[in-house]
Symmetry: D2
Subunit: 345 residues, 4 copies
């Protein structure tokens, strides 16, 4: 074997990993604060995982950035698998807050002031992740404060990341150009390109009937965002992509649509996990510092609450749920199409 010399601690570069904990409270003039080690280790652990998450999301972006994704290639299968891994990682990141909560506010006070003005807000990797997924600088809560807290070089890194197409835009493109969706002749009886196609007219009318009192406002919303001809600039998803997505969600049982359905689902799970992470993080900060300001000078909980409410990324997918109709009312697909949605046998 060529690399006979591989040894565990060398392979993992543990000399670097395990020597990177330098407590501020151990510096001259301060008193050792026992819990600062935990504070450092948990943040380093978070950053390690952010690196992994960026690596996975980045690889999915690469897959979806290819000029043409073959539906018979393993591409989508792999993309889906990696995004599910991201969800699994996020679940652990959420649970990990339990560890930080073993630090009491009093113990945090022992070193909190020594950290100013550093703050978790300055995690570039987390901001990169938001950018990779699709959050724009202009939509960030407290944008000015945001820019003021980061080194200019770090602001540049994030801006540059925002220049590239984020995941949500690539998913929009994929929904629009899915090869089989582009071939009109593949789809007898359905057309994603035409909002006025009979299929969508039928759908519109069934949907309208399914709404109970107090939900009627959904119909105009459906027509506005699903049946429009053009994408509005503030939308992440085009009406065409939305129609594809809704079709996938409704007819997901057919083999061809199973994987696309899983992909849409995993995007929603990522958003939901990010939201839960933000929420638990906000509560933890509140419990730790109350109404004091964050070490970075932010308003602490108030800032986090702003981000919580406005940083959803895949909300436009979540909204599609409002437009579903019951399975037994679904327009029946032609047998020709049904065969195409399966394998040839």
């Amino acid at each position: 074997m060529a690399n006979e010399g591989v040894y565990y601690s060398d392979y993992l570069q543990l000399d670097k990993i395990l020597s990177a904990q330098q407590l501020e409270s151990d510096k001259e003039g301060h008193q050792h604060a026992h819990d600062e080690m935990l504070f450092i280790v948990i943040h380093q652990s978070y950053e390690l995982w952010f690196k992994q998450v960026l690596y996975e999301v980045g690889s999915v972006i690469d897959i979806l950035s290819q000029p043409n994704i073959q539906d018979n290639s393993p591409d989508l299968f792999i993309a889906n698998h990696r995004l599910k891994r991201v969800v699994t990682i996020m679940q652990v990141l959420i649970d990990k807050i339990n560890i930080l909560e073993t630090m009491t506010p009093l113990d945090f006070l022992d070193f909190r002031n020594m950290l100013r003005p550093a703050s978790g807000f300055q995690s570039i990797q987390f901001k990169l992740l938001e950018a990779y997924l699709g959050l724009k600088m202009d939509h960030r809560f407290g944008k000015e404060y945001y820019v003021s807290q980061l080194k200019p070089a770090d602001v540049e890194i994030i801006k540059k990341a925002e220049d590239k197409k984020p995941l949500i835009a690539l998913v929009n493109d994929w929904l629009e150009r899915m090869p089989f969706f582009d071939k009109k002749e593949f789809w007898p009886g359905v057309d994603m390109n035409e909002p006025v196609h009979p299929f969508w007219k039928t759908y519109d009318s069934i949907y309208s009937e399914s709404l109970v009192q107090g939900e009627k406002f959904n119909l105009s919303r459906f027509e506005e965002i699903m049946l429009a001809a053009e994408k509005k600039p503030e939308w992440s998803l085009s009406p065409k992509a939305r129609r594809s997505a809704l079709f996938i969600m409704m007819y997901r049982d057919y083999p061809l649509l199973q994987l696309p359905f899983q992909l849409i689902t995993v995007l929603l799970e990522i958003d939901e996990h990010l939201a839960t992470w933000r929420y638990r993080h906000m509560n933890m900060v509140h419990r730790m510092i109350g109404s004091r300001t964050g070490t970075g000078g932010s308003t602490g909980k108030q800032y986090l609450k702003g981000a919580l409410d406005s940083h959803y990324i895949f909300g436009e997918f979540a909204e599609l749920t409002s437009f579903m109709i019951e399975r037994h009312r679904l327009p029946v697909l032609s047998s020709a199409l049904r065969m195409r949605l399966g394998f040839e046998s």
Copy 2:
């Protein structure tokens, strides 16, 4: 052995438990919806655990309702243990949402309309729990809607529960009357009864100095709610109880205060877990029905969001964190008092 005949299934009355699943979609005129079974079982499981939580919280209320709690009795130890159990249960109730999320919106649609107007909103046990802890009818979000959705007999049950002193009021009383706190001679150098006592003046001044720019507003808040002579009607905690609680949180290392500190901590954990439960529940509902109305006719997510923001119960304890000072700046206690806070040796 007297009860030689105990048999597992009889003991657990499994004939009742396992025969209580009657699907609406199995009734005449409907089509069997596979996932309705899950929907029923998970709600029954929640209700079983709500019963357990009410049983535990109710027993703690009984303990704290005794005219005089001996600090040397196991009472507080037991109360604390049972509230920690409640937190452990809540953690599982939160994780259990993962199970319900395996039901897709499309599968829910198969039977959702058959349930109207029933809704999880009608869970009397959950509302009793809120009442036991200290939420008043008048502070409930959407109070009118609330009353309209319940059978009058159920409204009565909750009102009646609100007539009794809830946990937070009993904790307030306990903080005020803790036997050792009531004996002035026990506490050389500290007095919880007197906001103008030298101890609190010193504390006030240290606290004032510890505030950085942008936190100064906390000082007037401190003086308003901590150093007031009287409790305002809208407060759950009296200034005196707050002073006791803050003292406990700051000097928690002394044996006498360790258990009281754990008790305050577990109350905060209950609030935090309830909040996480509400938040994940809200997100799950949003994912399941989007902007449709709930089966009970509520605005779905909007209602849940209102409850999320306004149903905190122990927030006044959380706020105390804002008033902490660093350990090394804490007023030193007299040696006479320090001995009293420990065991005699």
Copy 3:
């Protein structure tokens, strides 16, 4: 709406669910043991979920028992989805042990003797689950003890369940008869029916080369169980089914094999979760009663340890991992076959 009268507590039959907790320690001549309520509620909750798990596994058995499963039907997709749900439920059942562990051994002693000879061992639903999955009476650890502890009627229920084909046998059949696998002409260059087919000869030789010192014994095992012509009676899987499964695991990236791969994976996850559940249960019992006997008179931990080691059900799938070869050494499939493993475009 037809069923206007649906009310939450009626729908869930909470009158039955919430009235089924009768403490032995509340009966005459005993003293109320606070924690017995927890003991009852957690076991009832487990039984509720066992009912749900049996419902899901039973429905998958029904699906796989159909004479012919169309690969283009949603059958496999649904089966897979439901088995994943079972895994999610099991995860919660495992975490729920945390709740029972809040009961200390001393508190358990307050009512433990009143339960004799009832024991969790008598959970018929759990034994049915094992039978549904594929555990045979004859392979159960401590078979005689087993039969002695149950009411004869309950033994009958389990025996009857074992008469039907369990999940593992149905999966074996499915692997053998997967429609496309049955058509020789579908598979240019591969044949699951023929262990001496060139494809398998090539595989055998690549596999042989991949084994490092100390693993060589795997080769004869490979030839014995994978390349045999006949299934031995003690095997759950036939060599033919094993070849299909291994092929699926190695070439899982192709669309046609993605879902089958997920299905095999979820079976392994079920086994792993069952094992973790048994292990944590065993440790919990050990902590609760030490070397005392169980209430049912069993040897407590010793019995559970026996079951832990011998009640694996899908171990023959796990073993297939030993026979994998590196992706880049895999025999390349013919382009004709590769096209068939995808969708027609």
Copy 4:
């Protein structure tokens, strides 16, 4: 503020942390294996947390190594708090296995052979943790193999750690010398030093009566290990320490014993979590490599199984549960002693 310059990424030394991932499969002559990044990151994350766990356990060892622990100092409170934190961390380490399980065996094969002979077995920190807690080199499963796999310098590090008193020995000492236990006059009616003291004679006789058929063997075990005058060399706990521990477990409701009870409990939780971690790790390895050998040349699962069964550290505490008697049968303590077990009022 003095350290105005603190910046998040500098504070956490992210340049070191995030540059320490060098894939073997990215080296010349190999092909990039996507999942190797995950493999590196998860192991680095584990090592970060092992460092934290060692830091916490090490600090508890320092506390308990003091010549005399004051029962009125915060020492025990802090020790207990930090060991609970260790349990919380371990819970996350266990859940984190879910992340590694998203790597399929096929994906692992892409780089597995490049790692030989490195293996997780070479984690010095994990072995140090075992040594800190109390596992001796001589009791390690497969001792010879063990030594052969490590660099001599690493073997030295572990041996040196074993020279110091481990946690279990310090806990034994603490149980023996607890100040109040050393004062005979403090304990009217009980004596931990004298196994033939009337208290223990009474206990012995009550215990004997409480045993049901099939448990009688426990009585001689009780007398052998609890009532012996001397500690046997192979025991971790002396009979005297065991008597103290049993007394604490039985009379834990008294204020003086509440914290000692929590300490014993948390040791058992650490053992239980370590065991669960080992078990899930073993199953994960089995699923990943089947009956192949580990990269380090070990027998993989077989080695892990050996360690699983023999590396329990606090088993002698767990055994005490076998010797409990029901609360209502407990010898009643004198009122003089009962007062001493509380606070003076």
